[in-house]
Amino acid sequence: MSAWRRDAELPFQKLAEETIVVDPRRREVHLLNETAARIWELLASPQSLDELTATLGDEYDVGESELREAVAECVAGLEGKGLLVAAGTR
């Protein structure tokens, strides 16, 4: 299964519940909400969708299929903005 990690060289900082991520090359700034920020935090190390869903399932009171869909959407969003790198398969 595919895995991702966050781009380790991108500047970011937690700002209370949110996280700001800056992409100097694209001249873009992103403000991640609390949950996206948690996913960003987990992606410090390579994570598959299954792993992310399992971890967040312990933290959020959401059904597994709904959570998995939301996690996939968030990861796709982060990847689409160039903030993640592929980390092989797990």
Binding site: P11, K14, V22, P24, L31, N33, E59, Y60, K81
Partner: protein
């Protein structure tokens, strides 16, 4: 206990707001202005030191007449505090700077501005940049551009966390610019440096400091930047120096020059109307989202206000940020505490430049007559030709 369900999509909501000061205008993030305003507003509201300026050296290879640090025509090595007394404390060592970087990261800093003096004269710049990259800071450099020889720009471009570089420029012609820097050839070297940065893929913003010797060239300076497609900022405020000397004020634009600039070449950069004057909007970002650390380790509310809140040699940065009486005082100020400003009718047109006011008056809530006149001239320029207010 589990947390309630929360939405997962990225939050990219935007909010329009004018920046509280130039420190919020991050080089390279101009296209994200609305989101940057929102981010800066969050830092302000939550008192997070999102923007920190770190002065790495006072050494400089040029001798600008208007330098805010110190009188560059005094003998080398003469460093004084605001009272004029010699400041013999050593500069922060590289080890101390490395520790401070970690403390800044932990305290919430994201936008780290490295400055001087001339930052490229600092012998350990790349060690600092390496550590800043490891700590995921978004870095900006302030430079005069003259030391950006071939190879330097390429090396800087290897730092993917480098947001951009601000390059100071003081004239549209070599004779004017070089007369201010007191370094023949500096105008060409600065332009060459800016071009090299851009060719290397680095965001560049020119910073025009408008003063008496170059006021007649403002239109041309702007035209040159626009023709070469460089972003730029314009600043007309020269302050007394941080070493207590006031020779820099001789370079300030005269009132008649400023009035002409506001009616002409700078008219389009003035506010289009009254700025909000509320208890929420009157404070700048000093000690709320911004601060600065000078080469001796003193922590200041911002780079322009050398009012020491503490020293990172003696205290952890977070302790200074959270408990310093200086910062607490600034955060507690109300409009009424600015005695000259409170009744002034020109507040809606005033930048209330804290650096100029502090360095001129010695008080954070004091004033600088230049700033007051600038506000009045702004009002006159903004309201000129505007229809009269309806009368009863």
């Amino acid at each position: 206990m589990t947390a309630p369900a929360r939405s997962l999509p990225l939050s990219l909501a935007v909010a329009e707001a004018a920046p509280r000061c130039q420190d919020e205008l991050v080089v390279g993030a101009e296209t994200n202005y609305a989101l940057m305003s929102q981010v800066q507003g969050l830092a302000f509201d939550r008192t997070v030191p999102l923007n920190v300026s770190l002065e790495l050296t006072l050494n400089c290879n040029i001798r600008c007449l208007h330098c805010y640090n110190l009188d560059r025509d005094l003998p080398q090595g003469a460093c004084h505090d605001r009272s004029g007394a010699p400041d013999t404390r050593p500069d922060l060592s590289l080890d101390e700077i490395m520790r401070v970087l970690e403390e800044l990261r932990d305290a919430g800093c994201l936008f780290l501005t490295l400055s001087g003096g001339e930052v490229l004269t600092y012998p350990h710049l790349y060690a600092v940049l390496d550590r800043a990259r490891e700590l995921n800071f978004a870095v900006q450099l302030l430079t005069n551009g003259t030391m950006l020889q071939p190879g330097v720009a390429g090396r800087l471009a290897s730092y993917r966390n480098l947001l951009g570089v601000s390059v100071s420029l003081y004239g549209a012609t070599a004779d004017v610019h070089d007369g201010i820097t007191q370094m023949p050839g500096s105008w060409k070297r600065t332009w060459d440096g800016a071009e090299r940065l851009r060719a290397a893929g680095i965001a560049v913003r020119l910073k025009f400091i408008v003063m008496r010797p170059n006021a007649h060239q403002v239109e041309e300076m702007r035209a040159q930047a626009e023709a070469r497609r460089f972003a730029y900022l314009v600043d007309v405020t020269i302050t007394p120096r941080h070493d207590g000397t006031r020779g820099s004020l001789e370079t300030r634009v005269r009132e008649d020059q400023l009035a002409a600039l506001y009616r002409g070449p700078l008219r389009d950069l003035l506010p289009t109307g009254k700025l909000p004057v509320t208890e929420e909007r009157f404070p700048c970002n000093c000690a709320r989202g911004n601060c600065a650390i000078n080469v001796k380790g003193d922590v200041h509310p911002c780079v322009s206000v050398p009012w020491a809140a503490g020293n990172v040699r003696e205290q952890r940065f977070a302790d200074i940020w959270q408990t310093s009486p200086v910062f607490q005082r600034i955060r507690g100020l109300r409009i009424a505490d600015y005695e000259a400003c409170a009744p002034c009718p020109d507040k809606p047109y005033c930048s209330r430049n804290r650096g100029a006011s502090f360095n001129y008056s010695g008080s954070y809530t004091g004033t600088d007559p230049f700033v007051c006149r600038s506000a009045a001239l702004t009002r006159e320029a903004v309201t000129a030709g505007a229809p009269d207010a309806p009368r009863d």
